[in-house]
Symmetry: C3
Subunit: 352 residues, 3 copies
């Protein structure tokens, strides 16, 4: 039992603090700490479950549950109408994966291994798919701003059309990885778990279900605390969505990508960072639009202009890094500095 | 004789329907159907003509007549002052080549051949040239919008300067492919025509001339019908120019690129899609500007902002695909979905 | 003694013309001619000095003094408050390196050697670092324009933060090249100086110091002349900064990059063009911001929108050229035409 799981104690603590109306800062902090081990547990349980389903379905489960925490938090935020924050967290997750996670991975891996190389073609194909996915995601915003009508009725119609198109690409990508090209995108983590005994099927499912419920409860607490923080500390929905939510929501994946880089498995590290970003664009974003329709308040996919700029810069950078096939710690530092500069910029942006 | 040429019957039909003032939809449909076989005939006649001129001049003829239909349609539109539509059709041809044609090619080729690969260096050089050509093409718009003066007198002056510069690059590229580097860009289609007897020189020239005249006549009919459609169905010049004109104007090339991909000749498919886009930027666009000067109503090269965005996205994507050296059907699906999403967006754009 | 050094005679001439209040055009011309040999002398003296310091420190000296002329000119301009011109010269130096210098290098090298190739990985890593450096540099502008508040107080705060971040990356890059990865970025020019006797340490230092002082004096003359030209000829600060200052400030490097290409040493030519651009973004730009703070009138890093566009286009193009690993004269022509078109556009821009 990993010492890290002691953080689970923060699940009841955060709920209690929220119940006793402690100040939002404390509730936020404890809820974040509570979600980290839950997120890790879900990841572990999914991996164990994959032993019973075989690698094909396992890869699919891993991909889908990899963004489960993010998805739960944003669904709750959508129900509360925090659309700016939800859209910002889509942007922030992609930025976080491509700059923060990859930055730490290149830095940590580069310090341990001097120069690291990876399969340019696999990396190239993944980052091409990412570019295509994000291009689809941002087209509504690009077009509506160009027409100087960012928030017309047409924006919602177009956004729904785009969500359907992205979801179809997601299904096509599933068909690709589960049927026609299953060996290419095989799950990359199997070599790891050598000395630990496997979990039983029942244990895997029980823990997965339990962790999901606890994540949902703690996310309610988290989002309430975020609402209060936005109101009292005058942080913008945008800053909270771009920086805070993605760090909490993706912490587990981030950690494993950095570990992979430390083991000089750069292909796996890139796969996690880029693959997770693709999932955000093709699965999480459309599901959020569909959910908003069900909740009766349709959310459009019109991102803020600086979100577009930030996405364009990040995509370009990760493509360049993928394409040159080698990495070192200095590139890691540059990615992290770019992330920090963008975080600064989001912080300094007028709350409009 | 290919059964496809029966479509030639639509040449007189479309003219008759126009003469008898049938509704614009029917005239448009029949004119489009009439242009398809004419365009194919011109392509075939040019190839046959190349047997007499040798591969050097032949490659040049192929390149120039490859965009002849597009050029004829847009020249007629310029005479009628439909500048938005003409500029949109420049954008649309490049988008269509890079997303629609390449999308179908990767999808069809990928289904038949699982994973396809191509020469990264040849593809890379071509797509670099494309990026440079399109960069030149869009600079006037980028600068004029940045200065918040998109339609000043200076815009026309700058556009003429840019047209001259692009045409000089076109001449340099001709010199490159006909003199200094003739073997690199040799025509790619010679292996095909094994079992058919060659046409005589006279037959080639006669058919080429005849088809060109018929294309010109039918294009008059087509553009008149488009004008009526814009007026009565409330479609924007932009949508018609970006989506309809390029599909009709480039159908023949599109078809042959997809065929090449089916034969696993991805280098040839990419060459057609990218090469044709380069021709549009370096040859068609400047010629249209010069023609507008001759007609006495100068057309600038200030594209709409969303046209710039659409071009930037397409160029980036085709470069990424070129650079990773491999393709599969999922990339094809993504290209097609990106095209569809953009078409949706152009459709939903306010007609301003 | 190179005949080129006869141009040193223009040092006193330009000072005299300025003193006697000759028209600004003549002063400008002679000051430019005077700076060329001084700049070359500084480069030569730095190289000679490197023989005594060993390659590590030598590489650092070369990098830092490579932009000394540019830095001196812009520091003087900052003292006079010509912020638009200073920022434009940052943009212009990067544009000049990537389009003008590389364009001439590919054209000259391509004519002499038909097809040239270079190490894709080294070129790729360099251009990735450049993309990251420039991304950091332009983030303040992108974010502030997106928020429609380009010139608020926050812009200065954010710019200072960015300058600190870029300078930290510069220090990290120094540590990278001097300590952890010293062999990768070894100075590339050592093979050259075969038959000339080395300079003594004293001679190197004396000439370096003397040339620096003369550059400083002549730059005073130059900037005064530029101010007058802006006032009387109605050229914009922007045009002067983007086109004139960088050509004068970087002439020596430009010349050596073209020479390298002529010797078919494309790796060295790319290294000079790209490396010098990285230095501008990571060293010159932050130092100018810090200097402006010391002078008591803080300069922000909010570039004009068309500067952003020009930078984005140039970075993309140089990355594409780096990544395909081959070059020819036609690519050189295209780079030069892109530069000329941009220069035209900067010239035609309204002076606001």
């Amino acid at each position: 039992m990993n010492i890290f799981y002691w953080l689970l104690a923060f699940v009841p603590v955060s709920i209690a603090l929220e119940y006793w109306h402690f100040s939002a800062g404390w509730v936020l902090l404890t809820a974040c700490l509570a979600i980290l081990p839950l997120s890790a547990l879900m990841g572990k349980a999914t991996e164990e479950l994959a032993h019973f389903t075989g690698p094909r379905i396992g890869g699919f489960l891993n991909g889908t549950f990899g963004n489960a925490v993010e998805l739960i938090i944003t669904l709750i935020a959508i129900k509360k109408g925090l659309f700016e924050m939800v859209k910002a967290s889509i942007t922030g997750s992609i930025l976080g994966n491509l700059l923060l996670v990859l930055g730490f991975a290149l830095l940590y891996g580069g310090i341990k291994h001097r120069e690291q190389s990876f399969n340019q073609q696999a990396a190239g194909m993944n980052s091409t798919m990412l570019a295509l996915a994000v291009a689809g995601l941002v087209i509504p915003a690009v077009f509506m701003y160009s027409a100087h009508q960012p928030h017309s009725d047409r924006a919602v119609q177009l956004s729904i059309g785009v969500a359907v198109a992205l979801f179809l690409v997601y299904l096509a990508a599933l068909f690709f990885s589960l049927v026609t090209h299953r060996e290419i995108l095989a799950p990359v983590c199997e070599v790891e778990e050598e000395n630990e005994p496997c979990w039983s099927l029942r244990k895997s499912i029980t823990i997965l279900a339990g962790a999901t419920v606890l994540v949902a409860v703690t996310s309610e607490v988290l989002v309430s605390a975020l609402e209060e923080v936005i109101a009292t500390w005058h942080w913008s929905e945008l800053f909270v969505g771009v920086i805070l939510v993605p760090i909490v929501g993706n912490a587990a994946e981030h950690f494993s990508a950095v570990l992979m880089a430390g083991k000089n498995r750069m292909d796996a590290a890139l796969e996690i960072a880029v693959g997770s970003s693709i999932q955000i664009a093709l699965f999480v974003a459309p599901v959020l639009v569909f959910a908003s329709l069900i909740f009766g308040r349709p959310m459009d996919l019109i991102f803020q202009p600086f979100e577009l700029a930030a996405l364009a810069v990040s995509i370009t950078i990760v493509n360049l890094i993928s394409l040159d096939g080698k990495s070192n710690w200095l590139e890691g530092v540059q990615l992290l500095v770019t992330y920090i500069v963008m975080a600064l910029a989001f912080y300094f942006l007028p709350t409009a």
